[in-house]
């Protein structure tokens, strides 16, 4: 007997059952991969987020510690995380994170001149697959989670420590480039500044006006900290603004912390700054018959006109002059300390003009006791460099912070003796 397809009621029950079971398993697996795996991975990411928050907090404390105790710290961060291992189901690649620094300037001004101090913000940017979490920033001792570009608010994790209860302003300038991406642990080596004393701030003239870069404008954070009167200048075209503070010179404390390397000094160009500060026009740094109280020469004669002109190359000249009829010229300058460990020393002079009858101008170096360290050498017009022999160089090294330059004339006539000096410098090589 034959039946039509529609009228056929036979079935192979085990086969249909098997297909059902397989179908059910595949469905389960798909639900697991689509629902449970992302949930569990989000949980792993959230745990990492909690951990990194704790580690960034430790980093914040470590930076403060380094600047206060002047001893290094070695702080590590686990930038990313691996998801749990799975037999069934597939994970996305491990979540990597990025830590980077961004340079800005703090400026300190006395009203007429300004000193810029480079500092850096630190940004930690997570690279989660499931969670959508913004970057965590460290700027000037404030640690916060920035969710503003996601339409959320900003969460402050650690408050500012730049201004304390007594109104002191403590600035920690963070220096050196650092950038790392990955899923593993990286170390930030934090070193204190070696030369805090080399900070060359402009001379105080009442209160300093301090401008601190900040990304926190418009969040009300600084208003909550310092009251409604706080003054923030927007900076056009930049993602940061400047917070204006006014501070008495004695309440300002500066230090710097370097990442991976010692900071190069607060202003980044310490030596040049200290040279600029050295002013030969100051009474203690020159001596002639009429003015100056440098220790040498003890028996000055003649005059130095416009001594500040030798502070820098080019421009005006200082004139060492001894009028006709008087005795020979004998004037001097106190030299700034030089490098004690240099191998060679040379003396460079830029002489604009020498006017002398019969005879010459010369120079020698002495120490404060008047001991002659280098033999007298005759000066020529123009930009010339004068070298010393080994014994003389040893003597300069031994007296590196006690050097005086003596300028004198040896003439037989009695006319005007004039030496116009643009610049001189003791070079250590």
């Amino acid at each position: 007997m034959r039946q039509g397809f529609v009228g056929n009621n036979r079935a192979v029950a085990p086969v249909i059952g098997f297909i059902f079971v397989i179908g059910f398993l595949v469905l389960l697996l798909a639900v697991y991969q689509a629902q449970v795996v992302p949930q569990q991975n989000a949980e792993t990411e959230f745990e990492h987020h909690e951990d990194i928050r704790y580690e960034l907090r430790s980093l914040h404390h470590a930076i403060t510690d380094v600047s206060q105790k002047q001893s290094p710290r070695f702080q590590s961060l686990n930038l990313g995380t691996d998801y749990r291992a799975r037999t069934l189901g597939i994970n996305p690649p491990p979540a990597a994170g990025t830590i980077r620094t961004e340079q800005h300037n703090i400026s300190i001004s006395n009203g007429s001149s300004t000193e810029d101090i480079p500092t850096r913000f630190i940004e930690y940017q997570p690279g989660y697959n499931e969670l959508d979490i913004g970057s965590t920033w460290y700027e000037n001792s404030v640690l916060y989670l920035d969710e503003r570009d996601r339409g959320n608010d900003l969460v402050v994790i650690e408050d500012q420590q730049i201004v304390d209860d007594t109104g002191n302003l403590t600035i920690v300038a963070l220096q050196n480039e650092f950038q790392e991406t990955g899923t593993g642990r990286v170390t930030l080596e934090l070193y204190p500044s070696n030369d805090l004393n080399n900070v060359s701030l402009p001379d105080p003239n009442g209160n300093y006006s301090v401008k601190i870069p900040t990304r926190l404008n418009g969040t009300g954070y600084w208003e909550r900290q310092f009251g409604d009167g706080v003054d923030i200048d927007p900076v056009a075209g930049e993602d940061h603004d400047l917070l204006n503070l006014s501070v008495a010179p004695e309440a300002l404390e500066l230090s710097s912390v370097g990442i991976q390397l010692e900071p190069t000094g607060i202003d980044g160009s310490v030596e040049e700054e200290s040279e600029e500060e050295y002013d030969y026009a100051e009474e203690t740094y020159h001596r002639d018959d009429n003015s100056g109280d440098a220790v040498q020469p003890v028996n000055p004669s003649g005059d130095i006109e416009n001594p500040s002109a030798v502070n820098e190359e080019g421009g005006d000249t200082a004139t060492a002059i001894s009028s006709g009829g008087q005795e020979d010229l004998n004037v001097g300058f106190a030299l700034p300390p030089t490098d004690e460990s240099a191998e060679t020393y040379t003396m460079r002079f830029i002489i604009e003009r020498i006017q002398v009858g019969g005879g010459d101008f010369g120079f020698s170096l002495v120490n404060s006791d008047g001991e002659v360290l280098t033999e007298r050498q005759v000066l020529e017009e123009g930009d010339n460099t004068y070298s010393f022999d080994d014994d003389e160089e040893q003597a300069i090294s031994n007296n590196y912070d006690d050097l005086y330059l003596i300028l004198d004339s040896e003439t037989n006539g009695s006319g005007n003796r004039e030496l116009a000096i643009d610049y001189f410098e003791l070079l250590a090589g």
């Binding site: 290094p72 710290r73 070695f74 590590s76 291992a85 593993g184 642990r185 170390t187 010692e262 460990s341």
Partner: protein
């Protein structure tokens, strides 16, 4: 009389109990699956567990290294911990090997010698080795010596650096943290390492203040493997100079010089369990 039906001999008997045959087949497949699982999937999963532990221990060794430097240079006690081994995931039907145990121990002591033209001062120091005891993956020991952290892969000539040295960072100062006392722990648990600064172990009073110093630092690494990167980093006008690596003995010595005592800083850390 022969009443045996020729059709029922073993060869031409066509009767069968299909349920029994089916059961035997399914049992056979199950046993086969179980053995395949035990032989191939289980070692894979255990290797994964071991690899994760290897990553964790790498992170913890970085923390240990940072803690030693902080204890020495900032003069504060530190208490990092290292999980020496791990446990495999628990299983119902199959059998795991014994949990992998690891060993964290200090090496024998070596001398750092610092000499001026007439005198030599010796300060002893040790390295730290973490030796994993994995069953599945082959991983070499992780070594700490003078702020360098590296994995010494067996069978390869190259050490894989995890954290670079900070003996010299900017050429201005040579900072050495020495490690003293003996430490040895083995097992699968987490062990805390106590690091106590001990400045009294360092005495450089015999050396002249202004003379150039030669510093010989024991190292397991050789020049081509690692230290030539330090050579490239230092300039001739730096206060710390690179001379060479002395590879003549059982242990190598990195030879550096400093222009005087001011550019050398040595501190000591004692390690306890």
């Amino acid at each position: 009389m022969r009443d045996r039906n020729p059709s029922t001999t073993i060869w031409n008997d066509r009767r069968g109990v299909s349920e029994v045959v089916g059961f035997i087949l399914i049992l056979g497949i199950l046993v086969l699956t179980l053995t395949t699982y035990q032989a191939t999937i289980l070692p894979q999963q255990n290797a994964q567990t071991e690899f994760q532990h290897f990553e964790d221990v790498r992170n913890e060794m970085i923390e240990l290294r940072n803690a030693i430097s902080t204890a020495g240079q900032a003069d504060v006690s530190q208490f990092p911990s290292v999980k020496l081994g791990t446990n495999y995931q628990s299983r119902i039907l199959t059998i795991n090997p014994a949990p992998p145990a690891g060993t964290l121990q200090t090496s024998e002591a070596y001398n750092i010698s610092i000499s001026d033209s007439t005198d030599t001062e010796n300060i002893s120091t040790k390295f730290i080795e973490y030796q994993p005891g994995y069953n599945e993956i082959t991983a070499g020991s992780t070594w700490y010596e003078h702020s360098v952290l590296y994995v010494d892969e067996p069978g390869t000539r190259n050490a894989i650096t995890i954290e670079d040295q900070h003996l010299v960072t900017d050429g201005n100062k040579l900072k050495i943290t020495t490690l003293q006392n003996t430490f040895q722990r083995s097992g699968t648990n987490r062990e805390t390492v106590e690091l106590l600064p001990n400045q009294s172990a360092v005495d450089l009073s015999d050396l002249d203040d202004s003379e150039e110093l030669t510093v010989r630092i024991p190292t397991r690494l050789n020049e081509t493997e690692y230290w030539d990167t330090l050579d490239e980093k230092l300039d001739t006008d730096d206060h710390v100079g690179y001379e060479h690596v002395d590879e003549s003995g059982d242990i190598n010595y990195l030879v550096l010089n400093t222009t005087n005592k001011e550019h050398l800083e040595i501190n000591a850390v004692e390690i306890y369990s």
